[in-house]
Amino acid sequence: MGNYPMAPPQASNFAFEHDLIFYSLVVLTVIFTVIVGAFVLFFAFRYRQGNQVNRSRPFHEHLPLEITWSVIPLLLGLVMFFLGAKLFVNMRVPPKDAMEIFVIGKQWMWHIQHSNGVRENNTLHVPVGRPVKLTMISQDVIHAFYIPAFRVQYHVVPGRYTMEWFTATKPGEYHLFCGMYCGTQHSEMVGTVVAMEPKEYAKWLANGGNTAVPMSMEQAGAKAFSVRGCNNCHTGSDTERAPSLYGLFGKTRKFTDGSSAIADGAYIRESIFNPYNRVTQGYSYQTMPAYAGQLSEEEVLDMIAYIKTLGSPASAATNAPATGVMGGGVNPPKTPAVGAMGARESAAQPRTNLAVGALSRQNGEGR
């Protein structure tokens, strides 16, 4: 049935389980439809007006029957609920070692950043056999990142990070759709997901995704950090003006209202866009300007990546995937360099970094 495909390709770790549930539901639907349909048609025929059949002792209420046909659907429903919820929970909890890729949705394109700085638009390259976690945000309206062959989809919402993860299982090219209606060219916010053998993926990544963008997210972040003047206040150590961001990532912060939180990506983003929401203890309202509307989501992702490297013990591990696969080819500047720089307690460091970053950024913009 070449012309009439009946099912999308199964190309991720979720596809099989999903289809199992899906087809069970199909069987359920067919069974019940056939049962109901058969009875209705049979009765309509047999008990049609004027047909001489036994109609004695018709009954109108029958409790055991009512209970039977309430409980059976209930039980079947609960089974399906359980299977579906289990799969869903699985889809919402990414494995710890998942490789992170960033997705920005905007009317009407997908912008994707790999953590070593490779960027691509409307195409997503992923290795087969490795869990991939997409961290997604929208710059304008709500979109949805939908890969039918992987059976994954999640909304991409402005103002908050959302996540979806999968492990591609079969190399190939698959459809990528924007699932959530987002305006005029919603139907053209589409693209391709390319699942590659890990080796090829490594090569592709090392080639800068065939496009020369040799500036890592951390470097771009460092550059933005100084261009935007963050380093005027945030220096290597806590000052009266502002807390130091060194070692911030992953730490627990206490706030003036007594609450506390772990400084993760979402917290940092909030602190940049909306710093007065939760004010770090020892500082007052309205010192830091709110950057909402002034920085793009892309810049913020870069800055978060940069802040992560600032002396956080976790930084090496987080970046491992990106650096690990960098084999030969045109070597993008290595991320550890930034991390190392960050470790040194010098306020001047970011500026040095800027020089490197600015140069390489120019190449990148030719893309």
Binding site: D257, N274, Y285, A290
Partner: protein, 240 residues
């Protein structure tokens, strides 16, 4: 309406029974059930706003505190740093008006025309007082300080008392939406109470012989008061 003049049931002929009803009892019961249904829709209407308020207050606790200080005029009373003097006067006014409304309904049951009129009159006056305070002492300062959400929202830092502008804009969005909607209900209330007084004054049997219309308007009025009893602490009395 194609109303049939004759009385279909066996109710007394004094009060007009509409053609679709069998008798006066059925008519009155229908009115009361209808009124309660209407109040249920009102509850859902305001309820959605209250839910929204709760969520945003949860999200922006500090900012809501800061923004709410601007609702209190700088009066120092009862050991409070800032005291919401106008809000308190208004709350008191509405509470008293609820009481006079109860008295009016009671008098209607006893068919004491003058007492009804007096009590309804006081209710109306108090309701008007509420609106006057709202529209002369409460809202105009917000306009002056550019606290009205929208393109003109650019208040000075001192009127925000440390709240973030974005969050206080939401605070004031909810403030204007909810108290505005409530004010519309007060205005409608004054309208119907006025109409009721007119009928009492005229001695229309539909109200003098039958306390149900008065009672229904009373129900409505209590509802409007009750909404305010929730609005007041939520907007004026946010603890630090």
């Amino acid at each position: 309406m194609a109303s049939v003049a004759e009385d279909h049931g066996h109710g007394d002929m004094v009060v007009h029974v509409h053609h679709q009803f069998e008798n006066i009892d059925q008519q009155n019961e229908s009115y009361i059930v209808g009124m309660w249904c209407f109040l249920v829709t009102e509850i859902m209407f305001f309820g959605a706003l209250f839910i929204m308020y709760i969520l945003y207050r949860w999200n922006y606790q500090q900012d809501f505190y800061g923004a709410h200080l601007e609702l209190s005029q700088p009066f120092h009373m009862f050991g409070l740093q800032e005291f919401p003097i106008w809000g308190s006067i208004n709350t008191t006014a509405l509470l008293i008006s609820s009481f006079t409304m109860v008295m009016a309904v009671r008098a209607a049951q006893l068919r004491q025309k003058m007492v009804v009129l007096k009590n309804l009159g006081v209710t109306c006056v108090l309701a008007t007082l509420f609106l006057v305070i709202k529209f002369t002492f409460e809202w105009p300062p917000k306009f002056q300080h550019h606290l009205v959400p929208g393109p003109n929202f650019h208040p000075h830092a001192e009127v925000l008392h440390g709240a973030a502008p974005r969050a206080s804009e939401i605070f004031f969005s909810l403030y204007f939406a909810m108290t505005g909607l409530h004010a519309i209900h007060i205005i409608a209330g004054i309208g119907v109470i006025g109409a009721l007084m007119f009928l009492w004054n005229k001695g229309a049997t539909s109200v003098t012989e039958d306390y149900v219309p008065t009672e229904m308007i009373g129900l409505y009025w209590h509802f409007v008061d009750l909404v305010w009893i929730f609005l007041f602490p939520l907007f004026y009395l946010i603890p630090a």
